[in-house]
Amino acid sequence: MSNIMLNVRNLHASIGDIGILRGVDLTVNAGEVHAIMGPNGSGKSTLANVLAGRPDYTVTRGEVLFEGRDLRAMEPEVRAREGIFLAFQYPIELPGVRSWQFFKSAVDAVRTHRGEEEMSIRAFDRMLQEKMQLVEIDPELTKRSVNEGFSGGEKKRNEILQMALLEPKLAILDETDSGLDIDALRIVANGVNQLKRPSNAIVLVTHYQRILNYITPDFVHVLLDGRIARSGGRDLALELEEKGYDWIRETVEAGAQPGS
């Protein structure tokens, strides 16, 4: 049996009339960590959001298979229930929506989809306590409205908390590291590492290499102008850090495969 979790073939996507993804190919197997890097405007966040089903984007060509099934036919909430999770680059504040209730509704939605019963309040409370420790989040925060008045770092940690609660098969982290100080980065990375399983996969979208000091990727891909210009192992990230994205651009424009 194949352990291919995500299979992206020649994916083209646009927002309005503007084409952003222009032929992305990507294969992610269970148990793997992939880093998607690239300069601003290269399409990293678009890829992350297209996978999660953000309605602003239109897939114009190509296919996206999740566990062999066509993702395009699924509404965002169905993707989430099937096991796709997007940690947002800019988590949204939900005024008046209590964190506890929101989290419980989400967990129950996933469980119901799997044919399981909704969680008892007690069991959910226990799980919430446990996962909050994992991301070192102040329990007081979950008594408030979702993300409302949270600092940037608290919002990012709150994303990882939700990831921990929903236990996705495929977690896509959209620049979760941006705007974090070194302590927050360590906490977030530690949380992600503890959620790694042989049965799930992580796609890290990032501008910087620094989070890869904490989360070790199996593969690094460089996205440029809506295509994956180069793929490699962990060393590629270090090389990028040293030489900058222009190095990739120059080699791509020269029509040559950069040396390995």
């Binding site: 953000r54 989430a80 997007l86 939900l94 005024p95 929506v97 509704s105 989400a106 939605a109 929903l166």
Partner: protein, 449 residues
């Protein structure tokens, strides 16, 4: 307009019938007030938006002025079976309830006049029949009929309601629940509830007014509540307008505050064919404060108009005005909030805001908060917003597995929560959460794609 003339004639004949029926059985002062009020209505007629009348700019009362409502001199106040009220009203065994059916006191639906230490409560009709002292001193003193046709009509036809008098220093633990039911069977009828709340010095009390239509008739309720707070008094006031989708409701709440008194109110309404509430507060002494919250929820072709006027008449007065609306269908809401800070009212502190959530493209809100400031050392602010459910917000919630409907319902609940969570009466808060907002959860919030 001959049409309007005919309808006014109806009020004239109803008034003569009423005069005849109460002749000799009511105090002379009341008969005089009635006659004056009716004469004033004859001059004023129903309000219109003409001649720059900002107060009625966005609400036409033509559907009321053009309709014929039966005015029953006697009613059948014990005709309603208490069981039909189950779940349709907030309820708690600890509350003192005075219920009225089509404007008449209903002993069978009321808890009776209990021995309430520190307060006297009775129906207005009973109070007038025994000793009309409090009524005579206060009735009509605050809700002046001189400049308002509806208040003039209410005063002319006054016959029942609740009268609550709280003694000085008394702290009334049990909330007083005034329930107004309109039965709505048969021809459209009109009722004129009239309430008077007099809070003695340093007293504390809680009053809930609930208006409920029992069937989808086109009844008119024209109600006036006068609330007077003596020095240092505190009143928590709640006003609920429920289930009147096809009916008409016009209400005035007139509040007068003395030194260091504090008035908080939550006005929570479903829409109606036409609903209007005037909430008029006079901060008539230093140290007074009022906090007025409101939530209106409309759908279909309902229309609701909240007109609020806060008069900072003296220095060192504080007001907070915070209303929210949730509009669906092709309903329409009007919010008119005026804060007046008079020349001598230095150090006034006034904030007002009105925020609206539109659940459909056809719903419409006209929100006009305004400040009239004549003092120079004040702290005042106001704002109004109206918007749809944010698509990015919905996507965020759906990316966690919630379907559109559940996500929308949570957002709507969150939006309303800011008002509902401030309700201090637990049974009322529960009712609002489960029953009032439950109606919303069942509707097609957020629409389709």
């Amino acid at each position: 307009m001959t049409q309007a003339q005919t309808k006014d004639d109806r009020y004239v004949s109803d008034f003569h019938a009423l005069q005849k029926s109460v002749d000799g059985s009511e105090p002379a002062w009341l008969s005089r007030v009635r006659a004056d009020a009716f004469a004033r209505f004859a001059e004023l007629g129903f309000p219109t938006a003409r001649r720059g009348n900002e107060r009625w700019k966005y609400t036409s009362v033509a559907p009321i002025a053009g309709a014929t409502f039966i005015h029953a001199v006697a009613g059948a106040p014990d005709s309603v079976d208490a069981r039909v009220l189950n779940g349709r009203l907030p309820h708690d065994d600890g509350w003192v309830t005075l219920a009225f059916v089509d404007g008449r006191y209903s002993p069978s639906l009321s808890t009776g006049a209990p021995e309430l230490e520190g307060a006297r409560i009775s129906s207005l009709a009973d109070s007038l029949a025994s000793d009309g002292d409090v009524a005579e001193r206060h009735l009509g003193r605050y809700a002046r009929f001189e400049d308002d046709g509806f208040t003039a009509l209410n005063t002319a036809f006054v016959n029942d309601g609740a009268i609550l008098s709280v003694e000085r220093e008394a702290c009334i633990q049990r909330p007083i629940h005034l329930v107004y039911l309109s039965t709505g069977d048969g021809s459209p009828a009109v009722s004129y509830p009239r309430n008077l709340v007099v809070a003695g010095r340093n007293s504390e009390s809680t009053v809930v007014e609930t208006y409920l239509s029992l069937s989808p008739g086109r009844d008119l309720t024209n109600t006036v509540t006068e609330i007077v707070l003596d020095e240092g008094a505190r009143i928590d006031h709640y006003r609920l307008l429920l289930d009147a989708a096809d009916g008409f409701h016009v209400g005035t709440t007139r509040v007068h505050q003395s030194k260091d008194s504090s008035f908080t109110s939550s006005s929570i309404s479903r829409g109606a064919a036409l609903a209007r509430h005037d909430l008029l507060v006079t901060l008539d002494a230093p140290g007074t404060s009022c906090s007025l919250n409101g939530l209106y929820v409309t759908s279909g072709r309902e229309h609701i108009d909240n007109f609020i006027n806060i008069d900072h008449a003296k220095p060192n007065t504080t007001s907070r005005l915070y209303y929210k609306g949730i509009l669906d269908g092709s309903s329409r809401a009007v919010f008119g909030g005026t804060v007046l800070v008079r020349k001598d009212a230095q150090k006034a502190d006034a904030q007002q805001s009105d925020k609206n959530l539109l659940l459909s493209d056809d719903a419409e809100v006209d929100s006009k908060p305004s400040l009239l400031i004549y003092a120079d050392d004040v702290k005042c602010g106001h704002g109004a917003t109206a918007g749809h459910i944010d698509q990015d917000t919905l996507f965020y919630m759906m990316s966690r597995g919630l379907d559109r409907k559940t996500a929308s319902a949570l957002l709507v609940r969150g939006f309303a929560g800011e008002i509902i969570d401030q309700v201090r009466l637990e049974p009322l808060r529960k009712f609002l959460d489960e029953t009032f907002l439950g109606v919303l959860a069942g509707s097609q919030i957020g629409g389709g794609r």
